[in-house]
């Protein structure tokens, strides 16, 4: 198996400038995180808001540079602060954002949203761009007639499908999914997760799946990394992490996740009756 993505000791600091009354301070958002993802696998990054998981996602997607540390994509070191970001690099990694209501431009038609990455990053002629957009629309479970519609005409799940199609337009190797289903209903969530699984099989995609929902992570991930205040406190295969969490934060996280099985309901009701 080939390693698609490798991160070595990634650090990201944000400098908050000081003012007359306030001292400048540095926020350490990501404090030295290392991991590897193999081709066709899914790494889930779990943590609560403010733990640096989205910052890490932005670094992996080559949106923000890391303060220090190495990022290797298919074995090539990339440092966008040094200007390593070529259109070829950009085509390898794409992202799907959390909120499909905010990540699609309301004034662009679906067709324009889908073809824009090609316009920017490639010299594909217009008719090929259109063909590719049509193909992907069907791949993600939409129809050709949706090409000329605007985002507001779609439901949340359909919009997330459009966002996924847009991310796939450049034929990426790696897809960063930043909480792709947390804004969706349960039934739609199941559909989108299935779609992601189908696409992974078909295109041999590698996923970095950022989430705070452990039940989703357990279902989709091959490997799991738990982040807490910018550090990776737990990293291992899914079965290892779920069967035997080592760090106290991971245990807290598991304990806090509501359980929807009959035994835990029985236990709760019995406890309530006793009280």
């Amino acid at each position: 198996m080939s390693v698609i993505l490798e991160a070595r000791n990634i650090v990201r600091d944000y400098h908050v400038p000081g003012s007359f009354l306030k001292k400048a301070k540095t926020v350490h958002a990501v404090k030295g995180v290392s991991f590897q993802v193999e081709k066709g696998k899914t790494l889930a990054i779990v943590g609560e808001s403010g733990c640096g998981k989205s910052t890490l996602g932005r670094i992996l997607t080559l949106i923000d540079p890391a303060t220090s540390g190495d990022l290797l994509i298919e074995g090539n070191k990339v440092d966008i602060a040094k200007g390593d970001l070529t259109p070829e690099m950009r085509r390898k990694v794409q992202i799907v954002f959390q909120n499909p209501y905010g990540s699609l431009n309301p004034r662009q038609k679906i067709g324009d949203i889908l073809t824009e990455p090609l316009v920017i990053n490639t010299k594909t002629p217009a008719d090929e761009r259109r063909d590719r957009a049509m193909t992907l629309l069907k791949k993600v479970g939409l129809e050709e007639k949706h090409y000329n519609r605007y985002p507001h005409m779609f439901s949340g799940g359909q919009r997330q499908r459009v966002a996924i199609a847009r991310a796939l337009m450049l034929n990426p190797k790696l897809l960063v999914l930043d909480e792709p289903v947390s804004a969706l209903d349960l039934s739609v969530q199941a559909q989108v997760l299935n779609l992601l699984a189908d696409l992974q099989d078909e295109f041999q995609l590698t996923y970095v799946f950022i989430s705070h929902d452990l039940s989703v992570v357990r279902y989709i991930a091959d490997e799991v990394m738990v982040m807490y205040f910018g550090e990776a406190v737990e990293y291992g295969s899914r079965d290892e992490v779920f069967a035997d969490p080592k760090h106290s934060y991971t245990k807290t996280l598991f304990a806090a996740t509501p359980r929807a099985d009959v035994d835990s309901i029985r236990a709760r009701l019995a406890k309530k009756k006793a009280a």
């Binding site: 039934s187 705070h212 279902y219 509501p258 929807a260 009701l269």
Partner: protein
């Protein structure tokens, strides 16, 4: 006697393409000291039916019901001024987005004291004392200090605690929590749910939990109403619902939980559940 009784509630909104029926004949009862969960996806009318009971819908909504009573008093027949005395005092509501539902222009202390002034008629010193008590009850550290904070200076979890403090300020008989933890992290969600359950048990309130999270239902509810497209699909006590769901929709909803996944694809609702109405329209 039931605290809140709703029979055959219908809510319609006037739209450009004719009336839209958001709630279609829903009935339910909540007793004192009982936790009722209303489950459904977005668009199932679960929030709208509760907003209708609270009388908080805009004028475009047409609310009709065979019966809509609180503590035996007809909510639809009473004048608005009467109703306002009940709402916020005896029936209180916690909204989904804690940060958005607090007024950013006023301190949280002002907002909690407003409720105490309007409904309880307390004087300034008593209001402040009660506000500090309430902040302590919901677990806000440094309550006296925090009264002077604005919502943006607090985290999402803290704002939700403030919302809960405001809601329980007048010792309501019925508390309606509309997706109280959807915007929060799981660890914070656990704290808020524990807090709500503790307050509910301490005060013997009736509690309605509106949620789409089956885990939250399993952790909190005594009885569950499942809604879909404005209709009630099923009502059962929590154990029966999870063990032996009657309606196909509930079964599909439970099967779509990633926790229950077997194999490498999740069953989706559309595979398991065929909506008769949609089917009928297609034919």
């Amino acid at each position: 006697m039931a605290l809140l009784e709703i029979e055959n509630l219908v809510v319609e909104f006037e739209t450009a393409s004719g009336p839209f029926r958001a709630v279609n004949g829903v009935s339910m009862k909540v007793h004192e000291g009982e936790v009722l969960a209303i489950v459904g996806e977005s668009g199932s009318g679960k929030s709208v039916s509760m907003l209708a009971a609270m009388g908080l819908l805009p004028w475009t909504a047409k609310v009709t019901a065979d019966k809509l009573t609180f503590n035996g008093r007809d909510l639809l027949a009473m004048p608005a001024s009467e109703r306002r005395k009940i709402i916020g005092k005896d029936i209180a509501m916690i909204f989904q987005e804690p940060v958005a539902s607090l007024n950013p222009c006023f301190t949280v202390g002002f907002q909690i004291e407003e409720v105490l002034r309007v409904h309880m008629g307390l004087d300034k010193a008593a209001r402040r004392k009660r506000a500090i008590e309430l902040f302590q009850a919901v677990g806000i550290a440094d309550p006296a200090e925090r009264l002077g904070s604005y919502p943006h200076q607090m985290s999402g979890g803290q704002c939700q605690r403030v919302m809960i403090a405001i809601a329980i300020a007048c010792n309501p008989k019925l508390l309606i929590a509309d997706e109280p933890t959807t915007a929060l992290d799981v660890t914070i969600q656990k704290q808020i749910l524990d807090l709500l359950m503790k307050l509910q048990a301490d005060h013997g309130m009736g509690l309605i939990m509106i949620t789409h999270n089956m885990g939250v239902v399993a952790e909190t509810a005594d009885r569950v109403v499942v809604q879909y497209k404005g209709r009630k699909m099923e009502e059962a006590d929590v154990l029966t619902l999870f063990e032996n769901p009657k309606s196909n929709y509930t079964r599909a909803l439970l099967a779509a939980l990633p926790d229950n996944a077997t194999g490498d694809r999740l069953p989706t609702i559309s595979e398991l559940f065929v909506d008769d109405q949609v089917e009928g329209a297609a034919r």
